[in-house]
Amino acid sequence: MNAYIPVLLFVVIAVAFPLVTFVFAWLVRAGRYDPIKVEPYECGNPITSEAHDYRFSVRYYLIAVLFVVFDVETVFLFPWAVMFRKLALFGFVEMLVFIGILVVGYVYAWRRGALQWV
């Protein structure tokens, strides 16, 4: 675990770096309040609605779900790849089966149009 001590130190310094810079910028920067300036940018038109009420495509959720499935699969591949030479043929065939099952789901998602954006 000793290898992680420098990483921990790095986390502290990396977080401190933007915070310290913000404080410093707060001390030296210009600033004059104006109610028009703090309006959200909308090409100069008056704001008609909140962006948070704005509805976006359900496909974003779909992509998120697909990502979780495939990313978990990738995580499964990491330990397998590290032990690959020891597992040899057994590991290879087993992974073929695993990816085969996944491909069935992938083809299903494709055929149902889950990967189609428009």
Partner: protein
């Protein structure tokens, strides 16, 4: 001074300061390099006013951003709006803690390692940490409470997660050959086998780099920032130092992707054909080149390719982008993974 204090505090602190200074300067000068190269590609001169040949341009830009007014939109979620740039820049810098810039060497009897630390799950650490950056992008876009930012943030998040899968799969292809997650061990494995992994894994290399371009939101995959439709996307409302950190993170991430591509596929600090041409590299004419120089050279080449892409390719449409990631890269990288696995199994692969 007691020895543990030296090993666990002083030496890492010195290394962290050096790494941070170099990365931040490199990211700043990347903007100058980009403007200059793009300018020459378009038969212009580029920045040439601040300092000789415009060398001080990034410093002037940084000073300008530091003293610029910091406008927080009145409808924004204040805390999340503030967290956005921090969440983007911290992971971008943190990745450099495990990247090996050169091999361990001896100075006056002490072993010096030109990297902060070598954790045994290095590449997993990098993938885990660099994905945190997505939060900064999507939270920043959402917290701005601006329609353009929201669209840009959503698009960016969808793009980042889509390209993470083929990227992970092409990294696994390297692990099949190296059988280790430690970045130092991956380079050493390439030294043992005498072949850079770009040769047996050129498809994985290609997919890795293209996904890397998409992950950093660069041309031709810069849809989240599409100026013509989304007015800079997720950072429309950001100004001053907060904008500077988004900018810094983007360029630092380019350096990250280039460094990882160098380590995984181009043999890190190794010269070309380290074993076959060993006599040549050891000859007095070339032996003075330090290993770190090879690393920097390869990384700079990748950074140049980034700019070259920007000067060459038109932007993708969003549906084309998603189709490329999900319908082309994932199947191709899966097939390539099993093909490389079969190769390692049958001929023992690069040892």
């Amino acid at each position: 001074m007691p020895a543990p204090l030296m090993t666990y505090l002083v030496i890492p602190l010195v290394k962290i300061v050096v790494i941070l200074a170099v990365v931040i300067l490199l990211a700043a000068y990347m903007s100058y390099f980009e403007r200059k190269v793009l300018a020459y590609m378009q038969i212009r001169i580029g920045p040439n006013r601040v300092g000789p040949r415009g060398w001080l341009q990034p410093i002037a830009d940084a000073l300008k951003l530091l003293v610029k007014e910091d406008i927080v939109p009145s409808r924004a979620e204040k805390l999340v709006y503030f967290l956005g740039p921090v969440l983007v820049v911290v992971p971008a810098l943190l990745v450099f803690s495990v990247i090996p810039f050169g091999p361990a060497f001896k100075v006056a009897g002490h072993v010096v390692t030109p990297y902060l630390t070598d954790v045994n799950i290095g590449i997993l650490f990098i993938l885990a940490v660099s994905s945190i950056g997505v939060y900064g992008v999507i939270l920043g876009g959402w917290a701005s409470n601006n329609k353009y930012s929201m669209m840009g943030g959503l698009r960016s998040a969808a793009q980042l997660v889509s390209y993470e899968v083929p990227m992970g799969l092409s990294v696994v292809t390297v692990l099949l050959m190296a059988n280790s997650l430690s970045l130092v061990k991956i380079v050493e494995a390439q030294q043992r086998s005498g072949v850079w992994y770009v040769f047996p894994g050129f498809i994985a290399f290609f997919i890795y780099f293209v996904c890397g371009v998409a992950e950093t939101n660069r041309n031709p995959f810069d849809l989240p920032e599409a100026e013509s439709e989304l007015v800079a996307g997720f950072h429309t409302e950001y100004s001053g130092m907060k904008f500077a950190f988004y900018f810094l993170a983007e360029y630092a991430n380019m350096v990250v992707i280039s460094s990882i591509a160098t380590v995984l596929f181009l043999g890190g600090w190794l010269p070309p054909f380290p074993n076959a041409l060993a006599a040549l590299w050891a000859s007095p004419a070339l032996a003075w080149i330090p290993p770190v120089a090879w690393f920097v050279l390869k990384m700079a080449a990748f950074l140049f390719v980034y700019i070259w892409f920007r000067g060459t390719f038109p932007r993708y449409r969003f549906d084309q982008l998603m189709a490329l990631g999900w319908k082309v890269f994932i199947p191709v990288s899966l097939v390539n993974l099993m093909a490389v696995g079969l190769g390692v199994l049958l001929i023992g692969g690069p040892r």
